[in-house]
Symmetry: C2
């Protein structure tokens, strides 16, 4: 199996890929757009993309790709995220902090209280930051302990995310629908035709009367104007289960657009 | 009136403050945390904070502050956002692009296609980026035309956001509840006690049976673990209107926590 993922070596995406299949061959890309392209062009068997972080919420670029392109969520992997401050230099010499925008956001308070005024530079991934930092002692990267090892950096501070509990859910992206396991989750995206009172309520009713548990409901701008949203909904069950199929058949009449973006094994 | 807002001069926040009250005295701060502190300490009469962008969605730091601190939304202002690429130098010499993380995200494709490989540096505001850029011809800022004027920069490209339609909704933050105008909106945050099937459905029913139109529903991580969410809900009506009051009294029994974060005039 070949997995496409965000690189270089040492990213949290690599941790996710290892958790998924330690024997898989990894193909690293520079950004998430390229990971998604590698899935669309069948260059890889599947791609790994972060979809949601427990502190910062959804990863917009992954959610947008699921709406725009013909790809499916085939599975998920939950990775514990513990950021470190890495450098070749000393803590008092740090002039620039580099990392991925998500990691910077997850460490907002740490940076604000300890490094107010230092320059913040974003990179395509946390390990890009670590790799770049290894050349300049006045730079520090926010990245994983694996990145410290990979690029020969010292760990100046451990567990610097603003809340101890920090997990990222990664989606396994592909072109197929895995068979039902009896313990599945289905993800859909809907666009409501209008915002009359109770439209969303009516839609949720189709799940409630069939006792389908919704594990997530999230709105995201449709990009068609302020106040116009897409709803990303996760539910327990497989799209081939009778009750899920029935609910989806009913809501088609209530929405402007419905896109089923995957059924896959539910992780605890 | 004194308004606290993100500075320095030339930010989109300033555009919002001017739209709100062109005669107000403006007090600029370095970051949103300081704007919120200025409201909490009564240093200003109100603060201006971006709450939602039509391309990138909600501004996490503002939503988090509304949950954590004793502040209210007293009004809203909608600002049209048109980003420019500003520099002292020529387009072919640009080595670094600076801006606020939100502006960078709104111009992701522009940067990816036209400036792949250039360094990306984040700043506390778009006008911070413009100000800093004015000293270095190899740098470019993503900011407003007002920032170009303010800091004497050339506009190398206009309207560089990835979608033409780009608006940001700013919240007016304060300590009071404005009186009902007959054309109001109420914002609440709820934390559901558990995720039993239909919990959210039941809650939305209390609004639907009273014909209260929900204009927004958005989930955000509670930071208490993956899968645990706060729901931010906007509805038409004032918290002192009988039907809104009734609905809120009923949902108190369905939720773990309910926080009313404001009633204010609805903008079209």
């Amino acid at each position: 199996m070949i997995i496409g993922l965000l690189g270089p070596k040492g990213t949290y995406s690599q941790k996710a890929a290892n958790q998924l299949d330690i024997t898989a061959q990894l193909m690293f890309f520079d950004d998430l757009e390229e990971v998604i392209e590698s899935v669309l062009s069948n260059e890889v068997d599947c791609g790994i993309a972060p979809i949601e972080n427990s502190l910062e919420g959804s990863i917009g670029i992954t959610l947008d790709a699921l709406w725009e392109f013909d790809i499916n969520i085939m599975g998920e992997v939950i990775v514990s995220i513990r950021h470190c401050l890495l450098s070749k230099g000393r803590i008092e010499d740090i002039k620039v902090i580099l990392s991925h925008p998500q990691a910077l956001a997850q460490c907002r308070r740490f940076i604000h209280t300890q490094f107010k005024g230092v320059k913040i530079q974003t990179t395509g991934s946390t390990s890009h930051a670590a790799k770049h930092t290894s050349e300049f002692p006045e730079m520090a990267a926010i990245a994983s302990t694996e990145s410290a090892r990979q690029y020969g950096l010292d760990i100046l501070a451990h567990d610097i995310q603003d809340y101890k509990e920090n997990h990222t859910r990664f989606a396994v992206l592909g072109r197929e629908i895995p068979p039902a396991t009896g313990h599945d989750k289905t993800s859909i995206i809907i666009h409501l035709a209008n915002d009359r009172p109770g439209a969303l309520y009516e839609l949720l009713g189709e799940f409630a009367i069939r006792n389908i548990n919704l594990t997530k409901i999230e709105s995201r701008p449709s990009k068609m104007g302020l106040g116009d949203y897409l709803f990303y909904i996760d539910m327990e069950g497989h799209q081939l289960d009778t009750n899920v199929q029935d609910a989806l058949n009913c809501i088609i009449n209530l929405v402007d657009k419905l896109k089923i973006i995957g059924s896959y094994r539910l992780m605890e």
